[in-house]
């Protein structure tokens, strides 16, 4: 019996056209971050801010700070992620006047956060790598990301799960920067191809190839 392919785009809200029995896949969740209840939407918040209303920017921060923090924590670790978030929104505050709306506010903020994280990894990251080389795992800035446990699972299962997560994160961090960003944005942050292309400022075809090569490299590292 031939395998059937799951062919649907969860980000567009489509129903899967073919039900897949043998191949185990994980659908991309439609929304990975909690929704702010009083979020008025990009346009209204932006127009408020541009009109001089501070509340508009506060709403933007409240809605997007969690997403930006998530990306930053996966790139530079939770310890430095808050600094990246601060820098991202400070830059956004000064740059929102020039925001033309060609892309969504979300991808624009992600792009700023990615650049800030790259800058931080370029200087502090290398320095830290020099000083923490050969130390215990407790010094790993990403270790706290995998502390979450499944209350329904046994301690052994949780330990195995944590070990797999640690390995997976380490493998993702070991990817070349261009593939790592694509994999993080698509598989971990749940962005669509178009959004990833907006954030990375590359064509969609490049996103496809980077994802394919990144996943293949990831598989090689884990096998």
């Amino acid at each position: 019996m031939p395998a059937r392919i799951l062919a649907f785009d969860a980000s567009r809200g489509e129903e899967p056209r073919v039900r897949m029995a043998p191949v185990k896949t994980a659908a991309v969740p439609a929304q990975r971050h909690p929704v702010e209840r009083d979020w008025p939407g990009d346009e209204i918040a932006l127009s408020r801010f541009l009109a001089g209303d501070v509340l508009g920017f506060e709403q933007i921060v409240r809605y997007y700070s969690t997403m930006v923090f998530s990306l930053a924590a996966r790139l530079v670790g939770p310890a430095d992620a808050e600094d990246v978030v601060q820098e991202t929104f400070l830059r956004a505050y000064h740059g929102l006047g020039k925001f033309r709306g060609d892309s969504s506010l979300k991808t624009w903020l992600y792009a700023i956060a990615l650049n800030r994280a790259r800058a931080r990894m370029g200087t502090l990251g290398r320095l830290r790598a020099v000083f923490t080389q050969g130390r215990s795992r407790e010094d790993d800035p990403f270790a706290s990301l995998d502390d979450a446990t499944d209350p329904a699972a046994s301690p052994e299962e949780n330990a195995v799960l944590k070990e797999r997560r640690v390995r997976l994160r380490a493998a993702i961090r070991a990817l070349p920067e261009e593939f790592r960003a694509a994999v993080l944005l698509r598989d971990l942050e749940g962005l669509s191809y178009e959004e990833v292309a907006d954030v990375l400022a590359v064509p969609i075809g490049t996103v496809r190839s980077r994802l394919a090569r990144g996943r293949a490299l990831l598989k090689e590292k884990l096998s």
Partner: protein, 420 residues
């Protein structure tokens, strides 16, 4: 015979790309069919598909990092703290200054202010007021490479003529060796130096004699008899001329003595004596030794005070005024034709007699007259502007001060001669 459907061959990156896109639901129906066909016929491809699907599912199942407590509140307070200084005010006008722009603008403004202050130091108020009141009219002359003093000029002319004459005389030049020509030029230089020193001594002597004469006879031309005032009388002029001629004769005699060895130098004697040089043929080549040249300098004659409205410089004597100081002021009495009839130095220091001679030789023209030539219109415009300019409070104060002073003699003007 049944046609077997063609099975697409996908390997390596191509297969990975198709699998990756299929995991994201990015395949078209045709691509999905192709992939299905491949997976149905290739167990390795199927295994690859399963492995990658499991990996992607595991990555997507990774928990999102939990944000720290009150992250958005801290971000908002931080942003508002750093951007509160005029940020929202600027935003109301659609201006979003980047960080540090205000500091940069202040630094640039400070640098510009310092540069302006350094390049344009504030002028003293007194000089500004004086300029508004006096309004000097400057006439500048650029002097060519000529020696100061008539005797020096004549001597130089004689020297040039001597050289030319020496070159023109074919027999003399042919017979004279090059050493004699060089010694002739050296001799001429010595003569010129002696004439210069003689001229200085003569000027000093004349000044002392004039001072003695001044004690004996008070000039009748200028009404206010100042202590160091010198009037132009014909006796003094004659005396000066006679002394100059005597000096020239002495110089010529010395030149004749010096040129005894060099026949070419004998032609310099008449010129040194003040005679007009004979027309010499055009020189065949430049002289063997270049004569000393004087740096060209400029000088100016400024009519100051109320006189600048009525009189302007029309003509100046030939030559450069011999001034010891950078500038010397005189009160000059003019005849109706604009000629200088009396000169009174206004400076406390002693004035060079040659400078007095120079000032006496100045000729002035009434402002606006046809004698003034092309510059008359300019001077007239200056005067008109000065009259029509709306007076501010300061100039009115000055006018009031001037009103208290006695009216100036219309035939008297104040002249400043300066060199640059």
């Amino acid at each position: 015979m049944s046609a077997r459907p063609s099975i697409p061959r996908l390997e390596g990156e191509e297969l990975d790309l198709l699998i990756s896109r299929s995991l994201d639901g990015d395949l078209s129906p045709e691509e999905s069919r192709d992939l299905e066909t491949v997976l149905a016929n290739d167990a390795a491809a199927r295994a690859r598909m399963e492995a990658l699907a499991g990996l992607v599912a595991e990555a997507r199942a990774l928990p999102a990092p939990a944000p720290p407590f009150a992250l958005s509140t801290r971000v908002n307070s931080n942003v508002s703290e750093k951007a509160a200084r005029g940020g929202s005010i600027f935003h109301r006008f659609g201006f979003y200054p980047p960080p540090g722009m205000a500091i940069g603008a202040m630094v640039v403004m400070g640098v510009v202010a310092v540069a302006i202050t350094v390049m344009n130091p504030p002028r003293p108020v007194a000089s500004i007021l004086a300029e508004r009141n006096d309004g000097p009219v400057d006439v500048f002359f650029q002097e060519s490479a000529r020696a100061p003093g008539a005797a020096r000029t004549e001597a130089r002319k004689a020297k040039d003529a001597t050289t030319e004459a020496g070159k023109a005389g074919a027999k003399q030049v042919a017979s004279a060796p090059s050493e004699s020509a060089a010694s002739a030029v050296t001799a001429v230089d010595d003569v010129v130096a002696r004439v210069d020193s003689k001229e200085k001594a003569r000027e000093e002597g004349m000044a002392s004699r004039l001072a003695e004469k001044k004690d004996a006879s008070v000039p009748s031309v200028s009404p206010p008899a100042a202590p160091n005032e010198i009037a132009l009388d014909e006796k003094q002029n004659k005396l000066a001329k006679r002394e100059a001629e005597a000096d020239a004769d002495t110089g010529a005699r010395r030149i004749r003595q010096a040129s005894a060895d060099s026949p070419a130098l004998s032609a310099a004697a008449p010129q040194a004596a003040g005679a007009i040089a004979p027309a010499a043929p055009a020189p065949a080549s430049p002289p063997a030794r270049a004569l000393k040249s004087v740096e060209p300098r400029s000088w100016s004659v400024v009519v100051r005070g109320e006189g600048a409205r009525r009189w302007m410089l029309r003509r100046a004597p030939e030559g450069r005024p011999a001034t010891a100081a950078p500038a010397s002021s005189f009160r000059v009495t003019l005849s109706p034709e604009g000629r200088v009839t009396a000169v009174r130095p206004l400076d406390a220091r002693a004035v060079h007699p040659a400078l007095l001679e120079f000032v006496r030789g100045l000729v002035f023209a009434p402002v606006g007259s046809a004698l003034g030539g092309a510059t008359a219109g300019i001077a007239e415009g200056f005067a008109r502007d000065r009259e029509q300019k709306p007076k501010d409070e300061r100039s009115e104060t000055l006018a009031d001060k001037n009103a208290d002073r006695p009216a100036e003699n219309p035939a008297e003007i104040e002249v400043e001669v300066s060199t640059h």
